[in-house]
């Protein structure tokens, strides 16, 4: 070692001086912000360091993901349940809102017709027959529903009549059915007639008003209401509106085509008129 230093000492000293000078110069150039080794190594190690950092970050995120997966899954499930609950609440709210609207309409109508008592029912099913228009409702004689009770919408538009009753359900034949005949009156002119189902019109969701008097002045758009004659239907329930007038050669068979006020085929909730008290006397 002593020989090595003795023989090579001069070279080592020169090298040390050169390195010291270069280091001093580089420090002077960089303003004291780094040393030569770091300056030389940065171009090589920076990409490597960046890659290593990215790799570590990825590994860390994978580790975190695996570590917290169960927790995230539980949270996800909880959120799904919450969304389902909120959707259910929204559906209920929508249904309740619709029900409130209907009841509000009915309240408005029932305030004008205090002599009538209404029982709310739902439509369960429609007839499968292509020759009739009837449906089954969710309540029957247990709810006070009786044969020939009138059935209306929440706005008081006539839908039909109860034609069959069991304890827990009833059959309603609509005003479009060929078998239906209702004593009717034109609200504007006071002319009377019979609103009845007609098979050809039934296919177009309409009915006709027959037995019109020649003196009646009926105009398209006039409102047709129940006359109350016969006692089967309360008076002044809106049946529909005059859509057109059909004249026969003799004038004896003139009739008006009526468009029902209620959306007969679209009703889902209707009201059965279970009591019709006129002047304090209950009539059916």
């Amino acid at each position: 070692m002593k020989d090595f230093i003795t023989k090579k000492g001069i070279y080592i000293a020169i090298a040390a001086v050169v390195i010291a000078i270069i280091a001093a110069v580089s420090v002077a150039i960089s303003g004291g912000r780094g040393d030569l080794a770091s300056m030389l190594s940065q171009p090589f190690f920076r990409p490597l360091r960046s890659a290593m950092t990215a790799l570590v970050d990825s590994l860390e995120s994978i580790y975190n993901y695996m570590y917290s997966y169960d927790e995230m899954e539980a949270e996800n499930q909880e959120l799904r349940n919450r969304v389902a609950e909120l959707e259910e609440e929204y559906r209920e709210y929508t249904q309740m809102s619709q029900e409130v609207d209907r009841l509000r309409e009915l309240l408005g109508f029932s305030e004008t017709r205090e002599e009538l008592k209404f029982t709310p029912v739902s439509v369960i099913s429609w007839t499968a027959s292509n020759f009739a228009s009837s449906f089954t409702i969710s309540r029957g004689s247990n709810a006070g529903i009786e044969l020939y009770d009138a059935v209306v919408t929440s706005t008081g538009y006539l839908v039909g009549q109860v034609t069959g009753v069991t304890a827990s359900s009833a059959t309603v034949t609509t005003i479009l059915d060929t078998t239906m005949s209702i004593g009717a009156r034109v609200y504007e002119s006071g002319g009377t007639g019979v609103a009845q189902g007609d098979f050809q019109l039934f296919l177009d969701n309409k009915l006709k008003m027959a037995y019109l008097s020649e003196d009646d002045e009926i105009i398209i758009g006039d409102t047709v209401v129940t006359s109350g004659e016969g006692g089967l239907f309360p008076s002044d329930l809106v049946i529909g509106y005059v859509e057109s007038l059909v004249a026969s050669d003799s004038g004896l068979e003139d009739y008006a085509i009526i468009r029902p006020a209620a959306d007969i085929n679209g009703v889902t909730d209707v009201y059965v008129v279970t009591e019709t008290a006129i002047g304090g006397t209950e009539v059916r």
Binding site: A128, S129, N130, F131, T178, Q200, L203
Partner: protein, 166 residues
């Protein structure tokens, strides 16, 4: 439980759901899926199947069952279809036993005849009691029959399967 009782129970287990499925489709599904203003009749197709594959007795029994369900689906307070489909099942079964070969063409023929007869049974009260003109009624009968014919293919295979059990 004896073999005979087991067999009767098996028949009931197979036939009742088969008829109920047809009833549900006829009365609760297709009234909302009308084409050209009509919905199809499915229960008479089951009667035609029973009559063709199993003869007059099965035709009659299935006819009664299908008739009751038809009257229910039509909101009828009468038993028109119960009587009609029972009689039709027996008569069709007798014809099938003696004349027709058991196959789809025979089944289709039976179905078309039965569907037209059902249509006529439905329109007669309107013609005779309410004076409805025949022509528009015939139009509905025709459309109803055509729509129902679409369902002969699936119901043929269902009826054939059921016939092998009963």
């Amino acid at each position: 439980m004896g073999k005979r009782q087991n067999r009767v129970l098996l028949k009931i287990i197979i036939v009742v759901p088969y008829m109920l499925v047809l009833y549900i489709f006829q009365s609760m599904v297709f009234p909302y899926l009308k084409i050209a203003g009509v919905s199809p009749l499915l229960l008479p197709l089951a009667v035609a199947g029973a009559a063709l594959f199993n003869g007059r007795v099965a035709g009659g029994v299935i006819g009664i069952f299908a008739g009751v369900l038809c009257d229910l689906s039509f909101n009828h307070s009468t038993i028109v279809f119960t009587v009609f489909l029972a009689v039709a099942g027996v008569l069709l079964g007798a014809v099938c036993d003696s004349v027709l070969v058991k196959g789809f063409p025979s089944y289709l023929l039976c179905c078309i005849c039965l569907l037209f007869l059902c249509g006529f049974v439905q329109m007669f009260p309107l013609v005779f009691l309410h004076g409805v003109p025949v022509l528009p009624l015939m139009g509905v009968v025709l459309r109803q029959t055509l729509y129902s014919i679409f369902f002969t293919i699936p119901i043929y295979y269902m009826a054939r399967f059921v016939s092998r059990v009963i």
